[in-house]
């Protein structure tokens, strides 16, 4: 039975079948991986680069970053603070979801892009206080529309930076590579 199958696969038609199967599997895998690399669908095509180009600081919309664990995603009230004074808001098709959300009182449900698993306790404040700039981890926001992760945020990536920063300071290294610093 198996020998007959092999014999069939060795003839030209069989080889083509094997090739097509391989290509199909490969492209499926590539498509699957590409899905994980795309930023998620947002309720609104928020252009980070436009806002940064107007000179708005990261901390204006994400004020939690300097104060506590979560940087925070602004509510539509914050958007509206500026946008209700902008003529374009009334006419722009892209800004329609914002206008509708504010007028109907339903919140815009942003999808967080930079996320860590539940078992990681990340604190923005400590990183900002240590002199890290936002773009060190989140990438250059002058180039993106919806925020994208410039790298995979995994533990190796965290530890690489922690070890470099601790350097020869043993006490700092002990604190920065301790499991209990992030996992509890």
């Amino acid at each position: 039975m198996i020998k007959r199958l092999f014999d069939w696969l060795k003839q030209p038609l069989g080889l083509i079948a094997v090739g097509i199967t391989f290509l199909a599997l490969f492209s499926l895998a590539a498509y699957g991986i590409s899905l994980t690399q795309k930023p998620p669908e947002q309720p609104l095509q928020f252009p980070h680069r436009t806002h940064v180009a107007f000179g708005i600081q990261c901390l204006y919309c994400h004020p939690g970053a300097s104060k506590g664990p979560a940087a925070g995603i602004p509510s539509q009230a914050k958007c509206w603070g500026c946008h209700n004074q902008i003529q374009k808001t009334q006419t722009s098709e892209l800004l329609k979801p914002l206008k509708d959300a504010v007028l109907s009182g339903t919140p815009l449900e942003w999808v967080p892009v930079a996320q860590v698993p539940d078992f990681v306790q990340f604190n923005h404040r400590a990183h900002v206080a240590a002199g890290q700039n936002c773009e060190n981890c989140h990438g250059d926001m002058t180039k993106v529309t919806i925020a994208e992760n410039p790298q995979v945020m995994n533990m190796g990536w965290c530890l690489d930076c922690h070890k470099t920063i601790a350097g020869e300071d043993h006490e700092k290294l002990v604190k920065l590579v301790d499991c209990g610093t992030c996992h509890y």
Partner: protein, 242 residues
């Protein structure tokens, strides 16, 4: 096998965080048990699993009695929690290095994402204070709203235990650092100590002779560390019959 002289030598080293529990003023009200479960997102296993001895508590009130019925005499209640041993028996047996000693905080850690659930640590713990997640226990709505966001919600197949509320330690340290100072004694405490209506539990820095926990320990003078003879160097001191 640990030789006695080794124990004596290492017993001089103190941990960083420690606790004293006064059994004479403990009323056994279980407020600490409830507070711990709230603070640390501990699952409620339900009647059936509790019957199998799969209850999950990071702190429990042990009660003992002396003598035979009817001349039974209750001995003081004994809150039992992870003793955060300086030389812990749970640590060397973990094949995945999921239970490790924190060099920074001198605590025994349980790293949930590393744990593969061999339960070896729990079998090796002389205090029997580790709890295993035998299932993904359900939290019917709206109970999930009371989960503490600072603590991982553990899943099935993971061991867990008392952390001395390390999330509160980190929060206090973070706050102190943002204000450019050291953590002050009594600035924060563990959930169990906070909930205790009789103040039978005192938590703090045992390496600081001026901290409340050290002062209480000195005032009593005759604290007992459970199973100290095993060389585990526990960081919880009990007082009884003072």
């Amino acid at each position: 096998m640990i030789r006695p002289e080794e124990i004596k030598m290492s017993a001089e080293e103190t941990g960083k965080w420690g606790m004293v529990i006064d059994q004479d003023i403990c009323t056994g009200c279980q407020a600490c048990v409830a507070a711990c479960a709230m603070e640390n997102n501990i699952s409620f296993v339900g009647e059936v699993d509790a019957g199998y001895g799969r209850s999950m508590h990071w702190i429990r009130i042990e009660r003992f009695w002396e003598g035979a019925y009817p001349e039974v005499k209750m001995t003081p209640n004994q809150p039992m929690l992870c003793q955060q041993c300086g030389h812990a028996t749970c640590e060397p047996v973990c094949p995945a290095f999921a239970t490790v000693h924190s060099q920074a905080e001198q605590l025994n850690l349980q790293v949930y994402n590393r744990c593969v659930g061999t339960r070896y640590c729990a079998n090796n713990c002389p205090y029997q204070v580790r709890a295993f997640n035998w299932r993904d226990y359900q939290r019917p709505e709206p109970l999930s709203n009371q989960l503490n966001p600072d603590v991982t919600v553990r899943r099935m197949g993971v061991m867990e235990k008392c952390t001395f509320c390390i999330q509160r330690i980190h929060k206090a340290q973070d706050k102190a650092k943002s204000e450019g100072r050291e953590v002050v004694d009594g600035e924060f405490t563990t959930a169990c100590a906070q909930a205790c209506p009789a103040n039978a539990i005192v938590f703090g820095r045992v390496d600081d002779p001026e901290s409340l926990v050290s002062q209480v320990a000195r005032a009593h003078g005759h604290g007992v560390k459970h199973l100290e003879e095993l060389g585990t160097l526990p960081n919880v001191t009990y007082f009884k019959g003072g």
